[in-house]
């Protein structure tokens, strides 16, 4: 995007969306207030922010909860709200830090639907996860072990490289390999 992150960190950050692993929005503010605040914090003008907020509330199905305080939401909805907040400024790059940890199966599937539809729209999404079946949904996987990339490629490539049927097996084999190399 041509912005030096060291020289102009605020500007660079407005191109990024980030959803923390831990719920990191304001508990005493309502869903709507949270989204509105983050829209403004990303430097969006007030009028446009209002439009974006009602738009994203629609997309993420938070309409009936928009006046609920964030701390009162169930975990699944909290995660959804976090993701909505990370996307409020329609960033071209989105970081999701273990977005599905501690979330029930239905919400998790819901989540991946959102992620894939965003990816189709051209948003670059980086997801960290411990669930190998989830990694399967990704286009490109970087396998991290002890702070280093041990394998990089599409799910199919990694499976082939490890000689495993699924990602779970590929993961175990690749880790063992890198352990042996050390």
């Amino acid at each position: 995007m041509g912005i030096d992150i060291q020289k102009n960190p605020e500007k660079a950050r407005s191109n990024l969306g980030y959803m923390a692993q831990k719920f990191s929005l304001y508990g005493s503010l309502t869903v709507k207030e949270n989204l509105n605040f983050f829209a403004l914090a990303y430097g969006i003008r007030a009028r446009e922010a209002r439009k974006k907020v009602s738009g994203i509330i629609e997309v993420f199905g938070l309409k009936e909860h928009e006046n609920t305080k964030a701390e009162a939401l169930p975990l699944g909805l909290k995660q959804r709200l976090s993701m909505a907040a990370a996307l409020i400024h329609t960033p071209p790059v989105l970081f999701l830090d273990e977005p599905t940890s501690g979330v029930d199966v239905i919400t998790r599937r819901d989540f991946w639907n959102h992620i894939t539809s965003l990816a189709k729209k051209g948003v670059t999404i980086l997801v960290t996860t411990h669930f190998m079946e989830e990694a399967e949904y990704c286009d490109r996987i970087s396998l991290f072990y002890k702070g280093q990339t041990v394998a990089l490629g599409t799910p199919a490539e990694l499976k082939q490289q490890a000689g495993a049927k699924d990602m779970e097996g590929a993961f175990i084999n690749l880790i063992k390999e890198s352990e042996a190399e050390r």
């Binding site: 605020e10 500007k11 969306g17 990191s24 304001y26 508990g27 503010l29 207030e33």
Partner: protein, 382 residues
């Protein structure tokens, strides 16, 4: 600017939904005023004492009467010592005076006559009052009685004129001091929680991923709490001047102006503690012991600074409430004294700017403190 406004709005919303803030800003001053006004009294008080008169001369009867008329004493007459003892045990009376049966005859002969005064040593202060009241009432009586010719003349007397607080009413300086304590509490205790809370709840993480700059974060904390503090100040001054009728001789404009500077300073201390420690519990403990206790003990409100050991006197020069209490007490009692206003405002601004600088410098814009150079070094190794 837009971002800052959004931060301030958010903070005010949070404050308005947090009962603790409202309690500290508005209920606490009310309670402390009540305590200072009705609970704590540093003035001389009216004491109830018992009188037993064993001398039946009519002249002495007037002495008993003067005990009854004194504005410092409530007197109750007793006939025997047993009842006096019982009354003291029940705390009905704080002491007793017994006039012995040879009192008037000794005075008539020009001899020294003695009054037997019983005091309750379990309340030392009151015991002292009983003793000195009894003596002074007896002396006053003596000067008007027929025995006055035997009294030696006092050659030197004092004419006392008490300036600034003619009634010697301790409320007149304690109540303004209480405003200072409340302002310290709001400035230091409330804000010690707020930055730490953002780190603890992880909201700082979300905030850092937005376009927010360090100066936004710092001002976004200063300004809302400044507003709350000034509202509380208005409430405090209203209570003090209108409800409790404490005389105010200075200018309200200057009072609010210098209070604003003081608030800026104590907000700085609270935010600094919170910014550095990033832990609400720790920060509030440090804020209390570093900010509130010195404000109470070393500010000159309760113990005069001049009578402290030299080391502590030097220590007080870095305690903002010291300057503020000196100012607010003079503004209330003496009216506008330009030197006091300027000197205290100057020191407060100096400390305030110092703390603001420290808060700004310590506001971290990344999750873990890693300097850019370290990252580059790491990259080079790989």
């Amino acid at each position: 600017m837009r971002i800052l406004l959004a931060l301030i709005k958010k903070e005010l919303k949070q404050i308005s939904r947090d009962p603790l803030t409202i309690i500290i800003a508005f209920i606490l001053p009310l309670i402390s005023f009540m305590i200072y006004m009705y609970g704590i009294n540093l003035d001389s008080v009216k004491v109830t004492m018992g009188i037993k008169n064993d001398d039946c001369s009519p002249e002495v009867a007037t002495l008993v009467k003067s005990f009854g008329h004194s504005k410092y004493v409530n007197s109750i007459n007793f006939d025997n010592m047993k009842d006096i003892e019982k009354a003291i045990l029940k705390s009905k009376i704080k002491g007793a005076v017994v006039i012995p049966n040879d009192f008037s005859s000794k005075l008539a002969r020009g001899q020294q006559a003695s009054l037997f005064v019983i005091t309750d040593g379990s309340e030392v202060n009151t015991a002292n009052y009983v003793q000195s009241y009894a003596l002074s009432i007896a002396n006053q009586w003596l000067a008007t009685s027929k025995y006055r010719t035997n009294m030696s003349k006092q050659l030197v007397t004092t004419e006392v004129r008490t300036w600034y607080n003619p009634d010697l009413n301790s409320h007149h300086f304690i109540m303004p001091g209480s405003i200072a304590i409340t302002m310290t509490l709001i400035g230091i205790l409330l804000t010690s929680l707020v930055v730490a809370r953002e780190w603890e709840r992880g909201t700082m993480e979300a905030l850092l991923s937005t376009n927010v700059k360090a100066i936004h974060i710092v001002l976004g904390k200063y300004i809302p709490y400044f507003i709350i503090g000034m509202l509380s100040l208005t409430f405090n001054v209203f209570l003090c001047v209108v409800v409790f009728n404490i005389p105010f001789r200075g200018s309200f404009l200057v009072l609010f102006l210098i209070s604003a500077i003081f608030l800026f300073t104590s907000l700085g201390i609270g935010l600094l503690v919170s910014t550095v420690l990033k832990n609400q519990f720790l920060a509030s403990m440090v804020a209390l012991s570093l900010g509130f206790m010195p404000a109470l003990m070393l500010s000159g409100l309760i113990y005069p600074i001049n009578s402290m050991p030299k080391i502590f006197q030097y220590l007080t020069t870095v305690i903002p409430p010291r300057y503020y209490i000196a100012f607010i007490q003079s503004e209330f009692m003496a009216g506008g004294v330009t030197e006091i206003r300027i000197a205290n405002a100057f020191y407060l601004s100096l400390l305030g700017l110092f703390f603001f600088g420290l808060v700004y410098k310590n506001t971290q814009m990344r999750l873990e403190a890693v300097s850019p150079r370290k990252i580059q070094n790491k990259g080079a190794k790989e």
